[in-house]
């Protein structure tokens, strides 16, 4: 085993564990921010400032009984949460989160902080996103319950509709970067204009960024687009019939997807690990700060905006967001062609 291979394996394990932790952390963060916005306390009893609350939740989930409806399709009912969770973990593999490093000279050649540097990384993200739809569709269908089926259909229709705007918003950045590799896109955003403004894509693609964020919220099924979990009408949507750890897997997938979308938005629009004051090797701190800011924005949106009506959601996605994304792409293409942005 070469040191590089060991480092690569260690990095993979590290990302895996950090994703698990980020889901637990997000649960705590979400509850605390929600409490802040609603002038409540939030969890405060378990551990100092309620910090151990996620652990208590996980233990509770583990000891719950695993229920399965009698009329459910056994194999698919078991498979659906596995698909969701696997897709969520797999998507982060192509997201770079730090500059190349030798780990204080331990390695001969530098290693990029990224599990897999694929040259079509952005397309891989899409492929995995399209696979994660199956987890939700199958969960809805195999439960053999009307709430599950409706929730599954709604959320997959929503994900498929907003995937288009999501992709077109991305395409603008790809035109600017002239590459499908996420690390190339980040590298292009190093430095500043006029020694003041960082060369982030968000300044060249403000509309693309807004479209991307909205579509990202819809893609992760979060409020104000949380139709799969429209509890007033659908109980809990596609995971109504799930309990214990198979429910936990859906939960995990949802929060990891949020982290992934935030990380991708950081890489594409906010300059990834590039930022002032810190040396390149400490760039991952900037990365964490930016991802945290986007996640805070997500939580903020959830506890501020009411849920859309379903037809409004579809009309907004197809009649407003998609045309804006298309026009943005055309203008960007023209800009690249004639002005060489």
């Amino acid at each position: 085993m070469t040191p590089l291979l060991v480092a690569q394996l260690g990095l993979t394990l590290f990302v895996f564990i950090m994703l698990l932790n980020s889901a637990a952390g997000m649960v705590y963060f979400e509850r605390k921010v929600a409490a802040l916005l609603q002038q409540r306390m939030g969890p405060y009893l378990v551990g100092p400032k309620g910090l151990l609350q996620p652990i208590a939740d996980v233990i509770k989930l583990m000891f719950k009984e695993e229920l399965r409806p009698a009329a459910a399709d056994r194999l698919l009912f078991a498979l659906a949460p596995i698909i969701s969770a696997t897709a969520a973990f797999a998507a982060f593999a192509v997201v770079p989160f730090g500059a190349e490093t030798t780990f204080f000279g331990l390695l001969d050649e530098p290693l990029r902080l990224q599990v897999a540097d694929v040259n079509v990384a952005i397309l891989v993200l899409f492929a995995i996103a399209s696979m994660s739809v199956y987890g939700i569709v199958l969960a809805g269908w195999s439960s053999n319950s009307k709430y599950s089926l409706l929730g599954g259909l709604r959320s997959s229709a929503q994900m498929i509709s907003y995937e288009l705007s999501y992709g077109l918003a991305l395409a603008g950045v790809l035109l600017l970067a002239n590459s499908l590799s996420l690390s190339d896109v980040v590298d292009r955003q190093a430095g500043t204009w006029f020694h003041v403004v960082p060369r982030w894509h968000v300044f060249l693609q403000p509309i693309g960024f807004v479209v991307f964020m909205i579509a990202g919220i819809a893609e992760t099924n979060r409020a104000p687009f949380d139709f799969p979990e429209a509890e007033q009408e659908l109980v809990a949507g596609y995971h109504t019939e799930y309990s214990s750890m198979s429910f936990a897997m859906f939960f995990l997938a949802e929060y990891i997807n949020m982290v992934t979308v935030a990380a991708v938005a950081t890489d594409l629009f906010l300059g990834g690990w590039h930022g002032p004051f810190l040396p390149e090797s400490m760039g991952w701190i900037w990365f964490l700060v930016k991802v945290g800011a986007i996640l805070f924005f997500y939580v903020w949106m959830r506890w501020t905006l009411p849920r859309y009506r379903y037809d409004q959601l579809m009309a907004f996605g197809w009649k407003i967001l998609l045309p804006i994304a298309v026009v943005n792409l055309i203008v960007t293409a023209a800009g690249v062609l004639y002005f060489g942005l």
């Binding site: 899409f126 492929a127 399209s130 739809v133 199956y134 259909l153």
Partner: protein
């Protein structure tokens, strides 16, 4: 045998077995899922062939977009199992297919085939099948598609449009009155009376 061959046989075996099972078992929803597995294995083969772009597109377009639609149709029709031959025979006796719908299907298929043939014929004339340009990089694929194969590309889009119109024609049920216009006539939607 080198170690590189192992993933090839693995993906190949998965593709063949999954494809066989698609037609060998009766539950339509499992057929769809097995077809997705087969597409996934094919995509693995593309990776081995050093064509990551094609591999990922295979997943996005076929395993993702198209199969989700298949799954929707199967789920919403809620077809539990494929009908046995006796069922089909009984049904054929009780409800004959109308000749005109068969004619429509045939017409649409014929038109589609004609457009494809036309596309191929006109493309073949200039350049060979693959004029020796490497098609592994995204830029190279884009260039080939919009220069050498521009006509075939445009024709394919027309073909898809034809298929879409055909689907609408086939799915649209004539209102009971016969020669009524679209959207008019009783149960076909429109404002409630």
């Amino acid at each position: 045998m080198t170690i590189d061959v192992i993933p090839f046989y693995l993906f190949g075996a998965v593709a063949v077995v999954a494809s066989l099972l698609v037609i060998a078992q009766r539950s339509p929803i499992y057929s769809v899922l097995l077809l997705i597995a087969s597409f996934g294995a094919l995509s693995g083969l593309y990776v081995l062939l050093d064509a990551p772009f094609v591999a990922v597109i295979q997943i996005i377009v076929y395993a993702g977009a198209i199969m989700v639609l298949f799954l929707f149709v199967v789920m919403l029709l809620n077809a539990p199992h494929e009908e046995t031959e006796e069922d089909l025979a009984r049904e054929a006796g009780s409800r004959p297919r109308s000749a005109s719908s068969g004619l429509k299907v045939f017409g649409v298929v014929l038109a589609a085939l004609f457009v494809v043939e036309l596309g191929w014929a006109l493309t073949r004339r200039g350049g060979g099948a693959f004029p020796g340009r490497p098609v592994t990089s995204v830029a190279a694929i884009g260039l080939s598609l919009f220069t050498d194969y521009a006509f075939a590309f445009e024709v394919t889009s027309v073909l898809i449009l034809v298929a879409m119109v055909g689907a609408v024609v086939l799915a649209h049920r004539e209102p009971a009155g016969g020669n009524a216009h679209w959207g008019e006539g009783g149960s076909q939607g429109g404002p409630p009376e």
